[in-house]
Subunit: 415 residues, 2 copies
């Protein structure tokens, strides 16, 4: 059922909507008597309902045309639901193991029906704060990133397909601008929205605003339109169990630089690392857990690199028009190209990861990893270490030859 026009649903009208929508009602065996519906949207932009019946379940996500926490005074395009659906569908086809299935999309209601990621799935960030290890996380995330990024890039796609898709996602401009503002602009200037752990980090935030080299480097991280990226791949956009990893919420999806996704994930793992000292207590000094996070950072990049290169090798005679086989078919040249590409991608990822870390410490939206540390001076100490690392990564990213160098730099800050 596609409704005539947009109206925000509540729990009552949602039941009527489900009844009139076969792709949804069939998921719960058309039984409505035993339904439980829970609104769980903790984000700012959407209503999220979990719908559970005796014979099935799903999630309903409805975009609303303003920022929830601020109200109707801060409007926000509903069309993001369309781009989220496009990205979920496209990424889902390329990597079904790690992207929730879409059951239904209503373009007029800006409403998506999709798989309910049942317990014990929790948001990765919460698991990291709680100190839970996920042995398959690096494997799963590197698989997700390698598949979705490679297959939507010119390494795999024809120029025509790529341009068509780039043009379509240009429509998601409002959310792109929001990203540009909060990631690449606000943290580097005086902005009402910026926050930091004051007064402890007053000087640090000012130092960011006064650092010319930092500003030059962040400006250089330009959009390269390489692949269909998730656009917001922090640890709050991943749901996990020990055996399952699911990437959700790609409403910021656009054709952008691959390093933006990879950096977002790695950067947020680094934030989680530096937050651990704030979560340590008598029962758990978090030392072992910190080692697991470092291993996961290292493995995620190493596995991504391996998987990405393998996909490239596998599809070297595929449709991709970035490096034509007639030109680049010598094994030693292939290797030279792949090494250069992956090295550039590594440096991009460090740069974007660093920019994402900085904005989480002195920009508008902070992360629960730090926010949940009650003692402000302790929190500031954690944040300052993360900020120092991020500044080094952003300014000197091209000096890092391998992920092991990043791990060493992290360790050095703690010694």
């Amino acid at each position: 059922m596609a409704s005539a026009e947009f109206r925000p649903l509540d729990e009552k009208s949602l039941i009527e909507y489900i009844k009139a929508t076969p792709s949804l009602s069939s998921k719960i065996g058309n039984k409505f008597d035993d339904l439980t519906i829970k609104e769980v949207g903790d984000g700012n932009l959407n209503f999220v309902y979990i719908v559970i019946g005796s014979s099935g379940s799903f999630v309903i996500k409805q975009a609303i045309p303003y920022v929830r926490s601020v109200g109707e005074s801060l409007p926000m395009t509903k069309e993001r639901a369309y781009f989220e659906t496009l990205a979920l569908t496209e990424h889902g086809q390329l990597c079904p193991d790690h992207v929730p299935e879409v059951y239904h999309f209503d373009p007029k209601m800006y409403l998506i029906g999709m798989r309910y990621l049942e317990p014990p799935h929790i948001i990765l960030r919460k698991g990291l704060i709680a100190g839970v290890e996920y042995p398959l996380l690096a494997e799963h995330m590197s698989e997700y990133m390698a598949r979705t990024l490679f297959r939507t890039s010119l390494l795999y796609r024809t120029t025509s397909e790529h341009k068509r898709a780039v043009a379509e996602f240009c429509g998601n401009v409002e959310l792109c601008r929001l990203t540009e503002r909060v990631v690449f602009s606000d943290p580097y200037k005086v902005s009402e929205l910026n926050r930091w752990t004051s007064p402890y980090l007053d000087h640090d935030a000012e130092a960011v605003r006064e650092d010319n080299i930092l500003k030059l480097e962040v400006a250089e991280l330009k959009s390269k339109a390489q692949a269909l990226i998730h656009g917001d791949l922090h640890t709050g956009s991943v749901m996990v169990t020990p055996n399952s990893t699911q990437v959700i919420d790609p409403e910021f999806a656009f054709y952008g630089p691959m390093g933006y996704d990879i950096g977002a994930f790695l950067g947020n793992l680094i934030l989680a690392f530096f937050a651990q000292d704030g979560h340590a207590d008598e029962g758990n000094d978090r030392k072992a857990y910190k080692e697991w996070i470092l291993r996961t950072i290292e493995e995620t990049w190493t596995l991504f690199q391996k998987k990405f290169t393998a996909l490239w090798h596998q599809h070297k005679d595929g449709p991709g028009e970035a490096y034509l086989p007639e030109i680049y078919n010598k094994p030693e040249l292939q290797q030279l190209i792949q090494e250069k590409y992956v090295k550039d991608l590594f440096h991009d990822s460090l740069g974007f990861g660093a920019a994402k870390m900085i904005r989480r410490i002195v920009g508008v939206a902070h992360v629960e990893d730090f926010e949940s540390i009650k003692d402000a001076s302790k929190r500031a100490a954690c944040e300052r270490q993360a900020l120092e690392l991020a500044k080094t990564l952003l300014k000197e990213r091209r000096k890092f030859q391998a992920i092991s160098g990043v791990i060493s730099a992290i360790r050095k800050l703690q010694s």
Copy 2:
């Protein structure tokens, strides 16, 4: 008048078309008895009619859906006329002195009516072959490039405007692919279409196909979607008199790297330089003319750089979202950014210019500058020097600090 459907016009049906089209017939005072119509399309893709009456004139350019020289077996999208009109209109608003005015566009007939660039306007390339100096050329071309590139880039445009325009020009994908093929692919592989001055350059062409570093560098010159570029800015796309410079034929226009346009123009001037020895005769050794070409190359870049930076300065509080004033408003930081941006643009331009030179010597479409040298061994000697320079520029472009270094490298090849 917009016709119901596409049909290629001939001289007879063209008159009927003009009679039914007020925006055209008014240009010739609605008088049809004294009209002269001449078909002058020497290109491959269009019919071009010059229409001259006693009280006015115009040019009609109609895109046809196949490559003229090959026939209907090589189809070519007619929609390019739409993008040409878009680019002419947009660039014309930004730089009316150097872009011919559009009087009429018929989207169904893929037909553009525009200003007739009356004699003594000739194609720049022909003037260069003939050894004619144009004292204002560097001034005019740098003005054209600085204005059109700056004003359609994120240095001036908002992200929303920029994305909308990028999306629109993504539709010009077929001509983009043609460019990619003949510029970035074919010259570096065995291709039926490739030509070179055989047998003299057999080894040189093969050396291009075997040069791994060259291939790496040409692949790196990726689309950056910086600005609405002309897309084919060689010396055959410029009409000149000593006092007037007009840029025509932007049917390859798309949002791409600025260096692509700048490099195309400079690279073609360099080709014209190296061709001069082939045009020298007893009456004219072309030595003074070669010096003028070198001065024009140097001035074009120097003036472009100056004009571009001045526009940037002038619009530093404008709508552009690449470098926000709240962040980048310190004079020393502004300068640092501009220097870095212009330096990167310089290196991009040298790379693209070199790629354009290479493809004109060992790829499918050659330039009249060399083709008009009848003696093949003499032609090959000229071409080999140009090819050597191009290879150096493509592989070592980042080592050049200023345009004077390029001029020195050109001179060194001739000593």
